[in-house]
């Protein structure tokens, strides 16, 4: 196929389309709502490009493939912050930090002075932290808009509507593709955005907590994205308890967040396969790109590269499986 149909305009679809355009293919992107917005799971993402931190629970391919992400996004002209990730724990959970360190790489321990030097607003609040210097973060909504506009400028066609999931196409529909991917499931995530002009953080901060782990990602204009629950369900309703947990943990991170304005509360269900690893799957003439789980912006670039390798060069990617059903 010289012209390629891409179904789905979330982070997977837009990255695949971008990668195919860069290799000289004409691309048509079909989505019920092709403009980035709250209808898509990617809209609610944290936007952390943190392969090393994710290695705490994710399997090896996530760490390795995720290492491509920051450079890829930067090459597309997306604004990126490359200030690393700071990982902390409250006093009574301080051993969590050692466990986290044992299971990850690419970090160094900071003491009180070290923490004050990188994040002055956290001075005196924590004795120890883990710094992952080679990680980055982006604003997912800005990144989606950027890809969308750039694809349009390069001549990609966006069609608003339903597309048949059969025939030659790249199916990037996320959880909606459950009609053809029976082993796909939803993992619900709830998040919030707060406006806290009194708090300044330069990089994502992860608070390790045995019950309520939290991450806080700084966004522009004094806003912070806080996330995220991880619940085995494809339900898309925000629960009071989840928000309570997120906000309590946020307050524990810094009491100044108590004065923050609650700007937004969001929820969606992440598409995941049973091993929580992403896959390319061939279904007849269709190639499904799915299962990015909580790693949409982290893994989409590698998935897009492998999809383009397959379509343009016939190169079978490592995360490929065949559907013989």
């Amino acid at each position: 196929m010289t012209g390629v149909r891409v179904i789905g305009a979330g982070v997977a679809g837009l990255t695949v389309a971008t990668e195919l355009m860069s290799r000289g293919r004409d691309v048509t992107i079909i989505d019920r709502a092709p403009r980035p917005g709250p209808h898509g799971c990617s809209w609610w993402a944290g936007g952390m490009l943190a392969p090393f931190c994710e290695g705490e629970t994710a399997e090896e391919p996530v760490v390795r493939l995720g290492m491509e992400a920051a450079d890829w996004w930067e090459r597309q002209g997306v604004i990126l912050s490359r200030h690393g990730t700071l990982v902390i724990a409250l006093d009574r959970d301080r051993r969590e930090l050692d466990r986290f360190a044992r299971r990850t790489s690419g970090h160094e321990f900071l003491d009180r002075e070290g923490i004050a030097a990188v994040e002055p607003d956290l001075e005196g609040r924590f004795d120890r932290a883990l710094m992952f210097r080679d990680e980055a973060h982006l604003d997912p909504r800005a990144a989606l808009r950027h890809l969308h506009e750039r694809l349009g400028a390069l001549g990609a066609t966006f069609i608003a509507g339903e597309a048949s999931p059969d025939g030659p196409a790249v199916d990037c529909r996320g959880l909606a593709a459950r009609d053809v991917l029976p082993d796909l499931r939803g993992v619900k995530g709830e998040m919030a955005i707060v406006h806290a002009p009194d708090v300044r953080l330069t990089r994502p901060v992860r608070l390790l907590h045995p019950r309520f782990p939290l991450y806080v990602v700084p966004r522009a204009n004094g806003q912070f994205m806080i996330g995220a629950t991880q619940i085995e369900s494809c339900d898309r309703r925000v629960r009071v308890r989840s928000v309570l947990e997120l906000l309590s943990a946020l307050y524990a991170l810094h009491p100044a967040f108590g004065e923050a304005e609650l700007v937004e509360i969001g929820v969606d269900a992440r598409p995941a396969f049973p091993d929580n690893l992403p896959r390319l799957r061939r279904r007849g003439e269709t190639i499904c790109v799915n299962g990015l789980f909580r790693h949409g912006f982290l893994l989409a670039p590698a998935m897009a590269r492998m999809t383009a390798d397959l379509i343009c060069d016939g190169k079978i990617p490592e995360v490929m499986d065949e559907d013989h059903s």
Partner: protein, 257 residues
């Protein structure tokens, strides 16, 4: 053969299904442990309209008996409602009854527990109450209709092991014929082995396996410990004594140097 409410139980290790890195790792842990019973949290994952179905299907595919629980319930009413939802979803009268009395320690609420147990037993449920090692409370739960008791080793998720060995020993001695399962607080296989050596019928754990670096390997380690502990219990272990007693007699032994 161990029986819970008349059902023969093949494995004395029971595992929770929460907090694993992925459902595949969860399945690997069950395979390697040979655990025969899986506890599933109904409340958190439900979200009405059977939204958690995909995960529950994965649990059903493990091919083990499902023991749904009322984890996270803080009142009798909540626990009873959740139990009904569980019975409908999993088509089982079994319910692990948790009524949490203290948010920070997740300590059971003994009063609410007895009340909820009575309501559910009268309604035909087969109740597995998550309780403390208190013998009076145990007595009340049995009077309410429970035929299995699940005393804690330590608070949920702490991995502290058996924090009140005396209490657990007393409970075992007081109720020699009631199936007793140490539930919660285990962090290491040696702690599980100890519970089994004390004559506990089974152990139930989640975090120690799910949060291990290699959950499947840790699941197998627990399975071996449970087997070793049970075998030791059945072998009638020696009593500890203060006097050294050589296993070969010294008197009459030839001195060669």
């Amino acid at each position: 053969m161990l029986r819970f409410y008349g059902t023969e139980i093949g494995s004395r290790l029971m595992l929770g299904t929460a907090q694993y890195p992925s459902p595949r790792v969860l399945a690997d842990a069950f395979r390697r442990s040979g655990a025969g019973i899986a506890t599933v949290s109904v409340r958190r994952e439900s979200g009405g309209e059977r939204a958690g179905t995909a995960f529950w299907d994965l649990v059903r595919e493990l091919g083990v008996r499902v023991l749904p629980n009322t984890a996270g319930c803080h009142s009798v009413k909540e626990a009873v409602t959740t139990a009904h939802m569980a019975r409908e979803l999993f088509e089982t009268p079994w319910i692990k009854l948790e009524v949490i009395g203290h948010t920070d320690t997740l300590q059971p609420d003994p009063f609410g527990l007895v009340e909820a147990a009575r309501i559910l037993c009268e309604d035909g449920f087969q109740v597995f109450p998550y309780t403390t090692e208190d013998v009076v409370l145990a007595d009340r739960l049995l009077a309410a209709g429970c035929e299995v008791l699940m005393p804690w080793g330590a608070p949920i998720g702490t991995g502290l092991g058996l924090t009140n060995v005396y209490g657990l020993r007393t409970l075992r001695a007081q109720f020699p014929d009631v199936p007793l399962v140490v539930d919660a607080g285990l962090g290491l296989p040696s702690q599980a082995a100890r519970a089994m050596e004390m004559g506990y019928d089974a152990v139930l754990l989640n975090t120690a396996v799910a949060k291990a670096g290699d959950p499947a390997a840790m699941a197998e380690a627990f399975a071996k410990a449970v087997e070793a502990g049970r075998l030791a219990y059945e072998s009638d272990p020696m009593e500890p004594r203060d006097m050294a007693a050589p296993s070969t007699p010294v008197i009459g032994k030839a001195f060669l140097e």
